[in-house]
Symmetry: C2
Subunit: 418 residues, 2 copies
């Protein structure tokens, strides 16, 4: 019916960019006008006309309607701002950029009458952003929580299934290309932090300051923690979550013990899952590939097709995707949150230790739900596991501080329970 093509420019022809080009091949009404790359001479398995090494050329090219940014990183900010000022709609997979500079970009887009679509920025191929903004628009959400980083979930799955250390499983993940040479962004929780910042923003309709998000990675999780958690009916997962609290929003990323009765505990390997809880919908969960060339391209091209369908209308297209809020959330400090905790303790001389734990807990209002002593570690010490009832984080930390001061007690891990 429509003969007019949608003209796009692509910034970045890495794995995802090439996937987008391949998937677009069957859509005759989308034309790739130009693409920018870092290295013009690099061999690629796709062919794009008008390659340039200057991404600003894409942003200012008057023949381009939509800029598709799949380069990543915050270095591209000025280019996208220029594209928006040139009235180009944006499709991006750049989670870090949106988490750190979304406020500025969304304001600028609204002023310029263009939209920013970013289905691919969170949970790769899983449709999430658009469903939350459209099909679920009637809801007030209590919480959003999930596994948003495939690399760490792969590592934790392998540690569990093969009883291996974190280091061994990181090496496996690196060998398979699931983890980068410098794995910090994944294993320290930065990637999941950017994604939960983006989700919390749309789920609660407030801006999120990414620097205020509490973040803890998976590097301290041991095979023993995973084994004991399993015996107690839990899996250990890196959980990114945002919850409505009395006077604000509690956003954080850290490992958690997840009950095996929670469907999130079943999510294995590099798969992602997001659980939303709201009214009137109740709980809905989305599961799928969180990364990869083609799943990510599915979301990017879905956004491009959504723009294509509406593009000829000119103004005010895809109104439900526009960010209208500008107020920042009051983000709750992790010290003020309440959690149940898993505490692993190594005690040299067990005699009296349970008593010392009991006294410290009583002093700082920590109610113990379960204590397990795990035999002898072979060096005369024993491992003691404590699971607490809901406790204020700062009380918990004071209690731990107190126990650390005992000569014969070492707290080897503190993991929150979902």
């Amino acid at each position: 019916m429509e003969n007019k093509k949608l003209k796009i420019g692509i910034i970045g022809l890495g794995t995802v960019g090439c996937g987008v080009v391949k998937v677009l091949e069957k859509f005759n009404d989308i034309e790739i006008v130009s693409a920018s790359v870092k290295n013009l001479n690099k061999k690629r398995d796709v062919e794009v006309q008008n390659l340039t090494s200057d991404s600003m050329e894409i942003a200012t090219n008057s023949n381009i309607d939509v800029v598709v940014e799949v380069a990543g990183g915050c270095g591209i900010l000025e280019v996208l701002k220029t594209a928006i000022k040139n009235k180009k709609h944006i499709v991006t997979a750049n989670k870090e950029l949106l988490a750190r500079h979304g406020a500025e970009l969304f304001d600028l887009a609204r002023e310029n009458g263009v939209v920013i679509l970013y289905e691919a920025a969170v949970a790769g191929g899983i449709p999430l952003i658009l469903p939350i903004k459209t099909s679920l628009a009637a809801n007030d959400f209590k919480s959003v929580a999930g596994i948003l980083n495939g690399t760490t979930n792969y590592i934790l799955t392998k540690m569990e299934e093969e009883n291996l250390s974190y280091g061994e499983c990181l090496a496996k993940a690196q060998a398979l290309g699931y983890a980068e040479t410098d794995p910090t962004g994944d294993v320290e929780g930065f990637d999941a932090m950017y994604k939960i910042a983006i989700l919390a923003n749309i789920v609660f309709g407030k801006r999120i300051d990414v620097n205020q998000i509490y973040r803890e990675g998976i590097t301290k999780i041991t095979a023993q923690d995973i084994k004991i958690a399993d015996e107690l009916g839990y899996k250990i997962k890196l959980i990114a979550q945002a919850k409505k609290a009395d006077n604000g929003i509690d956003v954080r990323v850290h490992p958690m013990l997840v009950s095996k009765t929670n469907p999130i505990s079943d999510i294995k390997n590099a798969t992602n899952a997001v659980l939303l809880d709201g009214f009137p919908v109740d709980k809905v969960m989305f599961v799928g590939p969180g990364a990869g060339q083609f799943p990510t391209a599915s979301s990017v091209v879905g956004d491009i097709l959504s723009l294509k369908a509406e593009f000829d209308k000119g103004e005010n297209i895809l109104p439900m995707t526009v960010c209208h809020h500008s107020e920042y959330a009051n983000q709750i400090d992790v010290n003020e949150t309440k959690n149940c905790y898993y505490l692993s303790i190594v005690a040299k001389n067990v005699k009296g230790v349970i008593g010392a734990i009991g006294c410290a807990c009583a002093e700082f209002n920590v109610n113990i739900s379960c204590v397990i002593q795990k035999g002898d570690n072979g060096d005369g010490s024993a491992t003691i596991i404590v699971i607490t009832e809901e406790t204020l984080e700062k009380d918990m930390n004071q209690m731990i501080q107190k126990l650390q001061n005992e000569n014969n007690i070492q707290i080897t891990n503190k993991i929150r329970v979902l």
Copy 2:
């Protein structure tokens, strides 16, 4: 920003209709102009102005922009056709109507420049229809499969967890309001059949003849089948599925053994789940409440809000939701499909029976993957379970016919394996 209200008329103020009215209370820009009900004098916990017992009044009321139909059944067809001819957009939760008369309604809507939204018609509160049409628009799907009926999944879950018979669990479901007094629509698979017809239509872009869908309910499933399946690593679920086949589309609803490694096997009670498999996205799963006043209202109101956001643009709103195809799928006859099978056999005199089964299988190209003999049933007979490799359904049925002719062999169940 917008002061103009969207004016809606509601057909039906039952459980879902009242939920929609309650959820709409906080949306000041939606006005309920009128609602039609069967019984004007019935007490309801919501108040709506201009109640009428004539739904045709809603369809022709020139003050109404959108007709929200939550009455159910095919009796409402002419009313909705009239509403469409009067240029009203439709939001409906009516799966049977769409499955049986969707072709006519979608054609009429396109001719009249209005859209029909029906997020609530499949899997209640789970966002599914719109995400498939928008975020996943780049995909070619191989299959869609899932648990689309909460009542039967509740019954099967209870049978498994409490080792009870189908009849006992049906009674429980009826007592809790999960099953109706006449449970046929649920337990014989009609409800799931309507839903998979609607899903197959949008997933494959072909019209589906609901009368050609193979359908089998759960009434023949025994606690023993569930127990043996569990021992073999499977759960029994009522699966609705549509798959691309060599020369058409294979659409059916019947109980299946689902491997415990498949995430669908974990879906309990009245929860629904839908697994899509396509390129480029790979596998994505959606899980959530398949029914209920508020989850269903979440989807209905999500559709109303989507219309509200676009309504002022007049023509060609929500273009991605319009059904543009009119060709019917070539639906594969179940006899021509290939499946693995679970066969439960009661044999009076076990001596020679395994031999007879082996001979019959050989004659009709059925390869056995596993045979288990389950002790003595107490009456001198024994239960034998056969799991086959992939077999043509018509070969399987001929093999069963042959075995049935043996005096001492009775085939008590045939269940396909997912």
